[in-house]
């Protein structure tokens, strides 16, 4: 153990004196974070424009009234500034044509009665040519209200078919349209796995460059051989595994330190919050272990440090991009499951959980993914014929 620490300490000292490590592990990722933040940072600062909705609804239709009130009630919700103008249908169409309204809702006469009796009815929505995302938000809300009203129509049809008396039928429809959903899903903060863009960028770049950083440690084995020091180490009275283990330890430590610094500095520069320190520390250590395991596979097959460097870059970019280091990545089917096993992706998910307030007890899945990845890679590296430094 003493010899392992001696070798590891010496290696870390040399890495600390190696400016290329400093540049690759800290300067480049921070620079990239800055560039991406400047280019894409405005996505997060989206400001909704005021939106005018022209509504034509029968005055004596209480169901139509509900719809109008819901739309009117959006004012001040989630940054929306909605103005509802109640006009007749012709004027509503004119407003759209003139560009005075972003959205027009035309509720037909007998809308409420039809809904209660389970008869087909529809609300016509007209979207202005230059309407923005605000109109889409209002439309989606209207769509939701209509779905609920549609539930009432279904209830009415079912009641009629079963011969429910008219008074009871009205009560049932009323309950279906105004009672709200029977079940609600409340998302706790710990299950919120979405980082905001700035935090996602910091975490993604940290995950991507973690792979480059640990590469410095493990490829040191190849450099030892190229520099002749591996032969000298092997002539020392130390077990052979100590040399390999020291490189793994160096990689792990470099990965943990570099990622911790990146998350801290990146968080400070770009306002990212990652939550529980112990949980983040566990995630960073697991990610570093996973990354180190990949590098051992590379060292197994690469004959020179140059080959190892190229392979490291390829693996880092594939895992980094696939894990969402630059932008969110989504897929379906098996590919989606495969992406979920990516350690960078798992790190981001874990940090999403901690940033939402999750603690050690909430990061089990990403931790297991990363440790599982490390075990699989380490096992594979044992099975692959050694063409590299230990051959």
């Amino acid at each position: 153990m003493r010899q392992l620490l001696v070798l590891t300490g010496s290696d870390l000292l040399q890495r600390a004196r190696d400016t290329s490590l400093f540049i690759f592990a800290l300067v480049v990722p921070l620079a990239l974070m800055s560039v991406f933040n400047l280019v894409f940072g405005s996505i997060e600062q989206l400001e909704l424009e005021p939106v005018t909705v022209a509504v034509s609804a029968p005055a004596d239709d209480d169901m139509a009234g509900v719809l109008v009130e819901v739309v009117r009630g959006l004012k001040g919700q989630a940054g929306l500034d909605v103005t509802v103008d109640e006009v007749d249908a012709g004027t509503a169409r004119d407003r759209i044509d003139d560009g005075d309204a972003a959205l027009a809702l035309l509720v037909p006469d007998g809308f409420g009665q039809a809904a209660r009796m389970g008869e087909p009815t529809s609300v016509e929505a007209l979207r202005g040519d230059e309407a923005g995302i605000e109109a889409d938000v209002v439309l989606s809300v209207v769509d939701g209200v209509l779905e609920q009203i549609g539930a009432g129509a279904v209830t009415a049809r079912a009641g009629l078919a079963e011969g429910v008396p008219p008074q009871e039928l009205a009560d049932l429809v009323g309950a279906a349209t105004s009672g709200g959903p029977a079940y609600t899903l409340e998302q706790g903060r710990a299950s919120d796995e979405q980082l905001d863009y700035g935090s996602s960028l910091v975490a993604g770049q940290a995950g991507l460059f973690l792979l480059f950083t640990v590469g410095f440690g493990v490829s040191g084995l190849l450099l030892e051989r190229e520099n002749g020091t591996l032969a000298r180490l092997r002539s020392m009275p130390i077990p052979g595994w100590v040399v390999v283990a020291s490189k793994a330890l160096v990689s792990f430590v470099l990965g943990v330190v570099a990622t911790a610094v990146l998350l801290t500095v990146g968080g400070w520069l770009f306002g990212a919050e990652f939550g529980s320190l112990p949980a983040v520390a566990v995630l960073v250590m697991c990610a570093s272990a996973a990354a180190t395991s990949v590098m051992f596979l590379i060292v197994r097959v690469a004959r020179t440090s140059e080959q190892a460097g190229i392979a490291t870059s390829i693996v880092a970019l594939v895992l980094g991009i696939g894990g969402g280091a630059f932008f969110p990545v989504s897929a379906t089917g098996s590919l989606s499951a495969l992406l979920d096993l990516n350690p960078v992706s798992a790190l981001l998910r874990g940090l999403g959980t901690t940033s939402g307030g999750g603690g050690l007890g909430d990061i089990g899945v990403p931790v297991l993914v990363m440790l599982g990845f490390a075990v699989v890679m380490a096992s594979v590296s044992r099975l692959v014929p050694d063409r590299g430094v230990l051959a």
Binding site: R2, Q3, V6, L7, S10, L13, Q14, R17, D18, N227, G228, T229, A231, R232, L233, R234, S235, M236, P237, I238, P239, G240
Partner: protein
Amino acid sequence: MTDDVLVVDSLVRRFGDLTAVDGVSFRIAPGETYGLLGPNGAGKTTTISMVAGLIAADEGTVTVAGQPMTPRTTGPKRHLGLVPQELAIYPDLTGRENLALFGRLQGLRGAALRGRVEEVLSLIGLADRAKDRSKEYSGGMKRRLNIGIGLLNRPTLLILDEPTVGVDPQSRHAILESVEALSGEGMAVLYTTHYMEEAERLCDRIGIIDSGRLQAEGTRDELVRLIGGVDTIRLGGTGDLAGAADELRRIPGVERVETERRSAVLTVKDAPALVAQVVGTAAAHGVTLADVEISRPDLESVFLHLTGKGLRD
């Protein structure tokens, strides 16, 4: 011979179809410098790689200080100092840090480590540059540091693999002097080289290796005798050289005398012992000598005789 520091017995190492080392055996006693002399690719480095426990032998055994050496054993490596052919130092560490690192790996610690590091720094003449990173050293200084690391643990067996390759004459001279001093202190030295003059100067015994096989071994004189080697004395001058030739042939040890108009070439058993008598005899017959040249068979001749090729082929 049980107290031999190194016993190499019937070593074989193959790389695919190539047999790099084929049945090599030799021993080194304490205080003895043994040279493995052979051209590049002869199997010298592969042999010492097995001796140092860097690679495993396919057949045969290596015993260092009475303990079997394999890549997995650590005990015999405590007796070993290896100076690889390539520089094996860390450029981003200072000279002192390089020495301290390898000293710790060899089990030195505390005051003993610090003391030994300073001793070695003085020995290799780097005490005043000990704080500089080794990448800032000259080529000769790096070579000296490379050797110094091999001396840290006061090894029973020091292995030097072509330590003077690519070294300037001044550093080369310093290295050879250091090796002479070390063997004088009782250290067993295994020295590989393809420079005949280094082997002749340093080594008590020499093994001539080629194509993975030890062709012959012994002292320099024993090796020369193997090829029935004789010396030559060439006399240049004026006078009756032909007349002196008959008298020169009568000197015991002179085997043959061939004369030309202004020179005579004598084939003799031991030129240094006979040269005075030869010069005196020639002068007694009125020959005025302008020059006298002695030639002795060297290891190059031996190698050529044994392998049919030169050392630098």
